[in-house]
Amino acid sequence: MLTLTELSFAAQHVKLHAMANWGVNVDEALADVNPFFRQSSVVTVLYNYFGYTSFNGFFETWAKEGLVSPGWMKPERPLVQAFNHGIKANVWQHSQIVELVKYSEFVNFVVQVRAIFTAEFQKHKDLFPGTDGEASESKWVYNLFETHSRSLSNNSLLLLSCFQCLLVLFFIHSITA
């Protein structure tokens, strides 16, 4: 469970943050067309910055409080290295993800809702100028991934799954019996 948690936190979920950057539009002109979407976009971009750039700065305080080892605040930024390792590992195609639908509540939901999301996005695309619909999906998948997929590991299914947003493909983080 520990290694899967670390894998999902440090190496995998950061990709969803990155992909979400293609599903946003912070242009001021959008304030009139779709203010809710612009607000969500600003929040997402800002939080992505917090996660990748600012988070590492907390380690000094945490180390002084004894919550983490001093090594975490090294100038080499070990956690950022883990982030980068995951990002550089890229996203792989798992074209047979549908076969997992009958075994995973999470995969079943994501597969079905992706089709709904895409269809509705086409209907409402005028509200989302300059936005990649596939990347937009990553924002809602992100939270589900954070809250649900790790729960599967606790339930011995040990399946972490996620969404391949830019290439419209799915991938599996890890599957362990």
Partner: protein, 77 residues
């Protein structure tokens, strides 16, 4: 993680091989996994009042309401 890792102390920081991972895992679980309280803006598909997000939510909830209720319109944690 928020739903099932009930106790951050389940992560063993004394493990000789993976203990360092557990340190960060504990901090993340305690400080960065639960929904952020006090937001002054709406962040869910559900109840957004937006034609697109509401349309997706309505159909998604028929598949799995618990997961649909946790669909976010932005990344804020």
């Amino acid at each position: 993680m928020d739903w099932n890792l009930k106790d951050p102390l389940w992560l063993d920081v004394d493990d000789p091989r993976f203990g360092k991972m557990a340190e960060v895992g504990r901090v993340v679980k305690v400080g960065f996994v639960s929904d952020v309280p006090g937001l002054y803006f709406h962040k869910r598909f559900k109840g957004s009042g937006h034609p697109f997000y509401e349309a997706v939510y309505k159909k998604a909830a028929k598949i799995n309401k618990k997961l649909a209720d946790n669909m976010d319109t932005c990344i804020i944690k």
